[in-house]
């Protein structure tokens, strides 16, 4: 028997849908976010009746979304995009429009996995470093370090980009 008094799943879904979608657009891009969103909440629903704590449902569902995002990135490495599509995506203005989120998340997605994961969870999902550490199964210190490394790389990349005319 579950000991937690959980809200009806529909209300849980309605409460967290914006946060989950924002996080997924940041971490996998708008194109793959729809599927990952549905997979996230379907997985959450399967696990829901067995949940024993209702103390951090937001952190819980974002951790599931994080795992779905990793699946998307792994699938991409197994099935790389055709060259033409890659060119289109790398093109700054086109991707900014297509993703509606601006260029910076495109750059975050190109970072090494751990840095990408920490930055999307910190700034795309607004999780604390403590929550990120438990989502990633690492120490809080390691999460902070990966975030700092990621931001440093982004800063260097931006310095190298010529100003748009």
């Amino acid at each position: 028997m579950p000991t937690a008094h959980l809200p009806p799943f529909q209300r849980f879904l309605d409460t967290h849908r914006d946060d989950v979608l924002r996080f997924l657009i940041a971490s996998v891009g708008r194109h793959d976010a729809d599927d990952a969103f549905q997979e996230t909440f379907l997985s959450a629903l399967r696990a829901y009746p067995r949940l024993t704590s209702n103390s951090n449902l937001r952190g819980w569902v974002l951790t599931i979304a994080h795992r779905k995002a990793i699946d998307v990135h792994r699938a991409r490495r197994r099935n790389p995009l055709p060259v033409a599509e890659v060119r289109e995506r790398v093109d700054g203005s086109a991707s900014a429009t297509a993703d509606g989120a601006g260029d910076h998340w495109e750059r975050v997605r190109a970072l090494p996995p751990r840095q990408r994961e920490v930055l999307t969870l910190r700034y795309g999902a607004d999780l604390t470093h403590g929550e990120i550490a438990s989502a990633l199964g690492c120490s809080e210190e390691a999460a902070r370090r990966a975030a700092a490394d990621g931001l440093k790389t982004l800063r260097e990349e931006l310095r190298d980009v010529p100003a748009t005319p």
């Binding site: 579950p2 008094h5 959980l6 809200p7 009806p8 799943f9 529909q10 209300r11 879904l13 309605d14 849908r17 914006d18 989950v20 979608l21 924002r22 996080f23 657009i25 940041a26 708008r30 729809d34 969103f37 549905q38 909440f41 379907l42 629903l45 399967r46 829901y48 009746p49 993703d99 509606g100 989120a101 601006g102 910076h104 998340w105 975050v108 930055l119 700034y123 795309g124 999902a125 607004d126 931001l151 982004l154 800063r155 931006l158």
Partner: protein, 200 residues
């Protein structure tokens, strides 16, 4: 440096959530589904389980959607999603009933929101035919506890499936209307649908 989160297009997360709920219902992942149903006696909330219709609530009188679903979550399961398509039968039969085209409901019922004596009383009540009425006393007798007519009234007042389980057909022994879970105006309205000459 700052990394502002992505902007959402207004309504896109809500639309995606609705698609997710529909898919969850199609794949049978939710144990409990609900829908809001319009009716001439006000907004209703209908809740079904795999066994059948478990709850019809008068949205306003029963504390609003959140409170109605919280109660179901606590008593049955929190795996509750909104899935209007899964309640098409309920919606259609209620519509036919309110339009005077249906006298009996052909819906499977899930009695799990009521137990013991209360359930026995309600199951007896479910046998009162369209257009007829009974009394709290007769209900107590039918449920095997002739002296428990007050408790029978309590059982009918706790009816989780009003309208379909016709507790509105049970009147006070002296001929008065008695009480009703959705208020006496609704009781009168339902009775006038069924026996216009008596309760118009």
């Amino acid at each position: 440096m700052s990394l502002p989160p992505p902007d959402l297009v207004p309504g896109e997360a809500a639309a995606l959530a609705a698609r997710t709920s529909a898919r969850a219902a199609d794949e049978g992942l939710a144990q409990i589904v609900y829908a809001r149903v319009d009716s001439p006696v006000g907004q209703l909330v209908a809740v079904s389980t795999p066994r059948g219709l478990a709850r019809i609530a008068y949205e306003l009188e029963n504390g609003g959607l959140d409170s109605i679903l919280d109660d179901v979550a606590l008593k049955l399961s929190p795996s509750i999603i909104e899935a209007p398509a899964r309640l098409d039968d309920v919606r259609r039969e209620l519509e036919e009933y309110f339009e005077g085209r249906r006298q009996n409901f052909d819906l499977a019922l899930d009695w799990s929101l009521t137990t013991g004596f209360r359930r026995r009383v309600l199951q007896q009540c479910a046998r009162i035919p369209f257009g007829a009425t009974s009394t709290y006393k007769e209900m107590a007798i039918a449920a095997g506890s002739p002296r428990a007519f007050r408790a029978a009234g309590g059982a009918l007042g706790s009816n989780p499936i009003p309208i379909v389980v016709p507790c509105h057909r049970v009147l006070a022994t002296g001929g008065g209307l008695g009480g009703y879970t959705g208020g006496l105006d609704r009781k009168r309205k339902l009775l006038s649908i069924e026996a216009p000459t008596l309760f118009a």
